[in-house]
């Protein structure tokens, strides 16, 4: 495999707002992506996916935020990199697509101006050349009649078109890394599939490394090579897509799988949502954050063993796991969560 484009190691983000209790939104997250590879960051709302991606891009505010660990892009650490270095990389070498395509576009500026802006910023181009290139880009992301669309304002485009335009902007300078933060959440189901297909093609065609952030396991199934499941700011399970879907080990992952309908499941098989909500998480320093919602939880989930609560440990080839009492496969395990997951 090629050397990774992005290596995140022990990344932690703390919000230290004055007069408020500091919160650890991301804690000890490590992963890497190689060219042409797609990894998924999966987890419920609030688990720290967006904060992770903003930290990688250097888009978190400097004040009131503490970022530690390392984010190596092409081997260079970005965590303490000066602003001008980051700005040069953003848009040129690393791109990002956001969740809400409407609010991510400036309502008062035509699409064309927003696309050419990126080109003029990073590439030696005349205005006319940038316009031609913008037309080509819109065409490439599947926007019909791109010449006309360039003159239109964001509100004149459909939701899917807007996301395509944003993808075109993110890909304008052929970045080697693309971070997509829930790029399809705000779109209709049919449009979602088209946008995912588009991203997949782009990754295959140009060998871009893609970090796909989502809470939708359907997206993971269709797109990701490797998946990192996050809970309360930490990675709790890492596995290949296939392993994750057939043999989830973390009870939380099992719960996620059991709570979404699947085509291959028996008709009428009940869906079992994970009980409680993400707000029930306890601090990792006191034990496994998932314990209050976990069916497998036992006393030792809440105690320290050799100075740390539930650590992330290797769990077979290519897998990592943070759990003291994981789901067992293939022998039929007991318990509601496990039976749901084993389907």
């Amino acid at each position: 495999m090629q050397a990774p484009v992005l290596e995140v190691e022990d990344l932690a983000v703390r919000f230290t707002r004055r007069g408020e209790q500091p919160t650890r939104a991301v804690d000890g997250v490590s992963f890497s992506v190689a060219p042409g590879e797609t990894i998924g960051l999966v987890g419920e709302s609030g688990c720290g996916k967006s904060v992770t991606s903003l930290a990688i891009m250097g888009l978190l505010p400097r004040r009131g935020v503490e970022v530690t660990g390392s984010v190596r892009f092409d081997g260079n650490d970005l965590v303490d990199a000066p602003d001008h270095v980051l700005r040069g990389l953003r848009g040129a070498d690393m791109g990002m697509v956001f969740q809400d395509p409407l609010s991510s576009l400036n309502p008062t500026v035509p699409i064309g101006t927003q696309v050419t802006e990126v080109l003029l910023e990073h590439r030696e181009m005349s205005k006319a050349e940038a316009r031609d290139e913008a037309t080509r880009l819109l065409d490439r992301v599947g926007i019909p009649d791109p010449g006309r669309r360039l003159k239109e304002y964001p509100h004149q485009l459909s939701g899917g078109m807007r996301q395509r335009a944003l993808i075109a902007m993110a890909l304008a300078c052929a970045p080697r890394l693309l971070i997509a933060d829930e790029p399809t959440t705000a779109l209709d189901v049919t449009i979602q599939a088209q946008i995912l297909e588009l991203l997949r093609e782009l990754v295959v065609d140009s060998g871009t490394a893609l970090v796909m952030i989502t809470h939708d396991l359907g997206v993971v199934a269709g797109l990701c090579d490797r998946v990192h499941v996050m809970y309360a700011g930490k990675i709790i399970e890492t596995a290949d897509r296939h392993d994750l879907f057939t043999r989830p080990r973390q009870p939380y992952t099992g719960g996620l799988l059991a709570s979404v309908p699947r085509l291959d499941s028996t008709r009428g098989a009940p869906l079992t949502p994970i009980r409680g909500s993400a707000r029930d998480a306890i601090p990792w320093s006191e034990g496994c954050a998932f314990a209050p919602r976990c069916d497998n939880a036992q006393d030792d989930c809440l105690t320290e063993v050799s100075g740390s609560t539930v650590p992330l440990v290797p769990d077979g080839p290519g897998r990592e796991l943070r759990c003291r009492h994981p789901l067992e496969h293939p022998s039929a395990p007991s318990g509601a969560t496990a039976s749901g997951a084993a389907r």
């Binding site: 888009l59 700005r87 848009g91 990002m96 956001f98 809400d100 409407l102 576009l105 304002y153 509100h155």
Partner: protein
């Protein structure tokens, strides 16, 4: 005095903050467009617009519309202590104590009110926006310094400040314009700065940063154009305040001393001495001031509501 400053600050900030939260699908141009569509169907806004339009036309064509010259004295033989001629042929509203045609003076007076209102508002707008952009674009200590200054200005009652300034600058119409403009400066500055801060955290600004767009371009190309709508509303409302303040200053004798340019506030002040003989001399200019200010206010308030997501029907 600080209480006044606090009150003004709260009102301005509320206006600025609301501009930051546009409803989905309606922002920027589409918002402006749909706002105008709503205004066109709004009888109150139309009333305001008609008043403003009539006023503008009268001011523009004063020499054609005025039946007489505004400074020539007529009917002098009929003016005696205790009598001032009322409406009669050739003088629909009568003449003033010096025999000048009241209607013509009112018509010409609209020019002065409009001139002072527009010039002082534009002046206040330009300086206030410059300060607001400075604070909103740079942040940090520049922001702190500018806003400290602006808040001090805000804590001084407007008319008091205007009187002080026009006394300091001497009695002429430019002093009057500057005095009124200074009152507007802190309002525009704080409004624009608040609106820009709200827009800086918006998704499209973060998205532009994620594309490596330079900070200057983000501020001036993206944030600023989206921060202007509360300022436009405020400018409309300010025209009303400026006209009233101009009249008030003239009334206090701080206005333009040139008698060749009739002015409503000065006419009102002059009429005081003859209230018992011919109250109409005071009533007419007062009515003009009120109606014109009302016109701008109606238009401004409705424009604010039309641009404000909270008032959506």
């Amino acid at each position: 005095m600080t209480a006044l400053g606090d009150y003004k600050r709260e009102r301005i900030d509320a206006l600025a903050a609301r501009a930051g939260q546009l409803p989905e699908g309606e922002a920027g141009l589409s918002l402006t467009r749909s706002a105008f569509r709503r205004l066109r169907r709004d009888p109150v806004a139309i009333t305001g617009a008609v008043i403003v339009l009539v006023f503008l036309v009268v001011a523009a064509f004063a020499p054609l519309l005025a039946p007489k010259d505004p400074v020539t004295q007529y009917l002098l033989s009929e003016i005696r202590p205790g009598t001032i001629p009322g409406p009669q042929e050739g003088f629909p509203l009568g003449v003033d104590n010096l025999g000048r045609d009241l209607l013509s003076r009112l018509i010409y007076g609209s020019r002065q009110s409009l001139l002072i209102g527009v010039v002082s508002t534009v002046l206040g707008l330009v300086v206030g926006m410059a300060l607001g952009v400075l604070a909103g674009a740079f942040g940090g200590w520049v922001d702190t310094a500018v806003m400290r200054f602006v808040d001090i200005l805000l804590s001084i009652p407007g008319l008091l400040m205007a009187i002080t300034i026009s006394v300091l600058l001497g009695q002429n119409q430019y002093a009057l314009m500057i005095a009124i403009a200074v009152v507007q400066v802190p309002i525009f500055a704080r409004l624009l700065r608040g609106s820009m801060l709200a827009q800086r955290g918006s998704d499209y600004a973060v998205a532009a940063r994620a594309l490596g767009v330079k900070k200057g371009r983000i501020v001036f190309g993206h944030v600023l154009p989206n921060s202007l709508s509360p300022v436009i509303v405020q400018a409309t409302l300010s025209l009303a305040t400026a006209i009233i303040e101009a009249a008030a200053l003239s009334y206090l004798g701080l206005g333009d001393p040139d008698i060749a340019r009739p002015e409503w506030g000065a006419m009102l002040a002059n009429a005081q001495d003859f209230l018992s003989i011919r109250p109409a001399l005071a009533v007419w200019p007062a009515l003009c001031i009120i109606v014109v200010a009302l016109g701008f206010t109606l238009l401004g308030e409705r424009l604010r509501e039309a641009l404000d997501p909270k008032f959506r029907r």
